[in-house]
Assembly symmetry: C2
Homo-oligomer: 240 residues x 2
């Protein structure tokens, strides 16, 4: 199985994922939020590109849905939820649907939607998502990045997922080797909370009061949930 | 000092290096060849984009120059030297000039030529080149990559140079943090010769019979030489 990594929402292209499985990685925080929402009983997450589309979805199609997401890391006016995983509790999202729009993660998801399978991964579900793709036709770890720039936290999470793949039969690209080395080194030396706190995006989030999100999003293998995007909705893969 | 990394010759842009020092990194093999040539007494290396320009330089301007370089990793027909550092011995290049054209390294050098300073770095001179920029206005480690793709060996060498910079006063980008982590992990776990042998470019070179080049190019801090590109020529920075 060929394994590659792409670095930003802006640079991933259809041909990168054609015939392969894509795992969309936006650690801070869209992927972590989706995993947490589904783990807490959310029925489905509908990713949309803009707040306007989210309002239209709720108005024209399904009134019972919650609206979640961010612009500039903060909750969108008129929305029910921001983009902190901690908001997506069982009490709020259990049994319900959520329409989600975020700056980088949603964009990446929509750009790789032509892949054979589209999954959502992060530190929280690294082992689960790796198990789910172990026998696939080819794998692209599609890091979302932040506003078109490389994000260390997404790259390290790609490494965390790679670390959980069985090593035999894999043909690992140079970039995938670098992601794996980066993850192992950061885990061993400074730990993931410290790493995420030093990233460009992590520093921005801490300034905005979301330091707790960083601590949570750095937890490895907390949830045994594999979100899969199909026909416009993200649901638990095992429910398909 | 801001420190960033760019990943391929195709993606580095003038605005990435404007007002900063750029270190061009093409471990396999242009940077390693330039460092070795200057270490062995070569007076200057003239980087040109195409074999035709190399022939024209020799024909029209300076007949005594040697022509060096590669296309598809092998020596260009009619050239004196290929792109193996081992060819650039003191006997051949001592006191002489070389016109060099290579696929990725030369291209990167020409694309960052608008930087405040342009240096050439690799494992062989990591500490020397790091010392040379320690007090600069800002630093971009410009990895050449291979045919538009990320190259692990260049990224790891960027990390090797970062590891030699004094840590205080540096503002390290996410990508620079990843390069540093990658270098440290690969050095500690599998070593650099093994790492370079597993890269896409390393495997191609080994197939073509250049395995000795890989072993040589993985030597860290072998030479105390800082090649600087200025006014069309690469010379030892200390000779300026």
């Amino acid at each position: 199985m060929l394994v590659d990594v792409t670095l930003t929402a802006d640079t991933v292209e259809g041909r990168d994922v054609d015939g392969r499985t894509a795992i969309v990685i936006d650690v801070l925080r869209a992927s972590s939020t989706v995993v947490t929402a589904l783990a807490n009983g959310c029925r489905e997450v509908i990713p949309v590109a803009t707040p306007e589309e989210a309002f239209a979805f709720k108005r024209e199609r399904v009134a019972g849905y919650l609206l979640g997401g961010e612009r500039g890391a903060v909750k969108i006016p008129g929305f029910d939820l921001g983009n902190s995983p901690s908001e997506y509790t069982g009490e709020l999202v259990g049994g319900r649907g959520v329409v989600l729009t975020t700056t980088n993660g949603t964009k990446t998801l929509l750009r790789v939607s032509g892949a054979e399978r589209v999954l959502v991964g992060c530190f929280l579900n690294a082992a689960a998502v790796a198990r789910s793709v172990a026998a696939g036709p080819g794998l692209v770890l599609a890091c979302a990045g932040t506003k078109g720039r490389f994000s260390l936290e997404d790259f390290a999470a790609a490494g965390a997922i790679l670390a959980e793949l069985p090593g035999d039969g894999l043909e690992i690209s140079d970039l995938a080797m670098a992601a794996l080395a980066t993850y192992r080194q950061l885990l061993d030396s400074q730990g993931l909370v410290d790493t995420l706190s030093r990233t460009g995006h992590g520093k921005d989030l801490a300034r905005l009061g979301f330091a707790e999100d960083i601590i949570y999003c750095a937890k490895v293998n907390m949830w045994d949930v594999v979100p899969e995007y199909r026909a416009g909705a993200i649901r638990k893969a095992s429910q398909e």
